[in-house]
């Protein structure tokens, strides 16, 4: 039972990772989603597919490539070393980068759909009322896409908490540094600490259920506002 004390740092690290990555994802995904929803460029489809890749690739594949990139011989790794930052593999930063890539489609897609649902008309109206394109983005597009932004935040938060493969590949399950709840459970099971594994798993189950419930609640409320 006393082994459960290892779980607290893992839970804290998981929450830190999830909040930080869903916050950063909102900043990265919103302009990306806006571009995807507005552009007529030929790059739209390939870039859309690239962003969606993490949905279908095994997390180990994704984790492997990111590990190679961040590692001492990867492009990113060589860059970080030459800047004197060291290497990001097996560190919290590496974990964060992995999470960002892994959860990107979960953030981009709801926001992109929300932008697309607005249609051209409100943006044209704003232009005829002297709003510049940037002004229109902040004063019309963002407020109208609020339900999509909420969904994106909740989904990327929950999805980061649930990831395992990428975390294991990049982070290496170092206690206090890169060990999160999902890898902690794996550790418990490997060392046959079933009671602890049960407790932590049940906690994850309840948490995930509550997230989905809250998401449904948010959706129906924002639907009411918009109709």
């Amino acid at each position: 039972m006393n082994q459960l004390s290892d779980a607290w740092p893992a839970i804290a690290l998981t929450l830190k990772l999830a909040s930080l990555s869903s916050f950063l994802l909102l900043i990265i995904a919103t302009p990306l989603a806006w571009w995807l929803s507005q552009t007529k460029s030929l790059w739209r489809k390939p870039i859309g597919a690239l962003i969606t890749l993490p949905l279908v690739l095994p997390p180990t594949v994704l984790g492997f490539y990111i590990l190679v990139l961040l590692g001492p011989k990867g492009w990113v790794g060589q860059l970080t070393q030459s800047l004197g930052i060291g290497v990001w593999s097996f560190s919290f930063t590496g974990l964060l980068i992995g999470s960002l890539v892994f959860s990107l489609p979960f953030a981009v897609q709801p926001i992109q759909y929300a932008f697309e649902a607005i249609g051209k008309r409100p943006l044209e109206v704003a232009a005829t009322l002297r709003a510049s394109p940037i002004d229109t983005f902040f004063s019309v597009a963002l407020p109208l896409a609020k339900p999509g932004l909420l969904t994106a935040t909740v989904l990327s938060f929950a999805h980061t908490i649930g990831e395992f493969g990428v975390v294991l590949m990049i982070g290496g399950n170092i206690p206090g540094q890169t060990r999160v709840v999902s890898t902690q459970i794996f550790g418990y099971v490997e060392s046959m600490a079933y009671v602890e594994a049960h407790l932590l798993s049940a906690g994850m189950l309840a948490f995930s259920f509550l997230v989905l419930l809250a998401l449904g609640q948010l959706k129906s409320r924002s639907d009411k506002v918009l109709t």
Partner: protein
């Protein structure tokens, strides 16, 4: 041509389904109605004026040039001083009525102040709606708020794209008087796209008839409604619109006499005063022709004239005959068979029997 003050437009636009190729010189005041069947390019013309659609050519209004493709100049929509009223009200659903109206006002230079806002709100009678949410407004109220929102910035040019088309008949009757008020109160030029004769008759000062993206006819309303082009384009609803002066009243029979292009007409008296100027509309289908003046008829008005032109309509048995009666042109819808039987041709003298005249007050 390039340096004449006014409102000059020259546009070329090619789309898969249609093209626009036109040149216009529009007045800098009053309502210019762009009229034509659907697919004639009316909305595209308006969108080009607003900069929402890219086109080749030039657009100059007063001292501002918004488009000059020769000099690779195209002012983006948000920098053109326009107001635009879309077919559907298109209010911002995330803002209140008040914030919708302030949206444009907040973005114009402060020198204008809020005079435009007060004027717009009172012109459209929406003071009592300001605190409401968009969702609680009726269709007619939404459109009035949208018009006020476009006016609040005191634009140089107001563009209206069939603002009544999305409303049912009752709502249309509710909004039309507000548009007439705008017409009387505002000095800025307005371009009003419509395919409804009723709106054209009530609101327009100047008419552009568009056909397949080209100008079929253009000029002051009274002139264009006498043209063959418009008569052929609108068929059944063809008729002239003119202004007339009330010169006499028959109070016993509730009739009023109008002086109209050198001739006189009796109409139903709706409380007119002598000396008043009224706008009248005389439909071609309410005018018939006789070779001699008829005394034994219930029809009050007989005007003599000379046939100027005869054109067949879409229906091969029907013709529209334009008759010059002193300084006026009258139009009559008659069958080709009657024309043959009476041996009427351009130059023949005839009497026009006018069954009814609509007064638009």
């Amino acid at each position: 041509m390039n340096h004449k003050p006014g409102f000059a437009i020259q546009l070329k636009l090619k789309r898969a389904s249609f093209s626009i190729d036109l040149e216009l010189d529009l007045p800098l005041n009053g309502i210019t109605a762009v009229f034509g069947p659907s697919g004639s390019g009316k909305t595209s013309l308006l969108r080009c004026l607003a900069g929402l659609e890219e086109a080749q050519g030039y657009i100059r209004i007063g001292d501002q040039t918004w488009l000059d493709s020769g000099r690779h100049l195209s002012t983006p929509t948000w920098k053109r001083e326009i107001g635009y009223v879309f077919q559907e009200a298109s209010l911002f659903e995330h803002l209140s009525v008040r914030d919708n109206i302030y949206f444009g006002l907040k973005r114009v230079k402060q020198s204008h102040g809020s005079a435009g806002l007060r004027e717009a709100v009172s012109l459209l009678g929406i003071e009592h709606l300001l605190g409401r949410s968009i969702q609680s407004l009726s269709g007619g109220e939404r459109q009035r708020v949208a018009i006020a929102r476009a006016l609040a910035t005191q634009p140089k040019l107001l563009l209206l794209d069939e603002p009544l088309a999305s409303l049912d008949v009752a709502r249309r009757r509710e909004v039309l008087p507000w548009l007439e008020r705008l017409h009387d109160a505002l000095k800025m030029p307005m371009v009003y796209v419509t395919h409804a004769m009723e709106e054209l008759a009530r609101l327009a000062d100047y008419v552009v008839l568009l056909e397949h993206g080209r100008v079929g006819a253009c000029g002051p309303l009274t002139e264009v409604t006498r043209s063959r082009e418009l008569a052929l384009a609108i068929g059944d609803e063809a008729g002239i619109i003119s202004s007339a002066i009330v010169v006499d009243r028959d109070e016993v029979h509730h009739l009023a006499q109008l002086l109209f292009g050198g001739t006189k007409l009796w109409v139903r008296d709706q409380g007119l005063t002598i000396g008043q100027t009224v706008r009248i509309r005389m439909l071609a289908r309410d005018v018939s022709l006789t070779k001699t003046v008829q005394e034994d008829t219930t029809i009050q008005n007989h005007l003599s004239g000379i046939i100027e032109s005869i054109d067949t309509l879409l229906h091969p048995g029907q013709a529209v005959v334009r008759v010059r009666c002193s300084q006026e042109i009258l139009m009559a819808h008659v069958t080709l068979r009657s024309l043959q039987r009476l041996e009427l041709r351009p130059g023949s003298p005839v009497w026009c029997q006018v069954k009814s005249v609509a007064l638009m007050l």
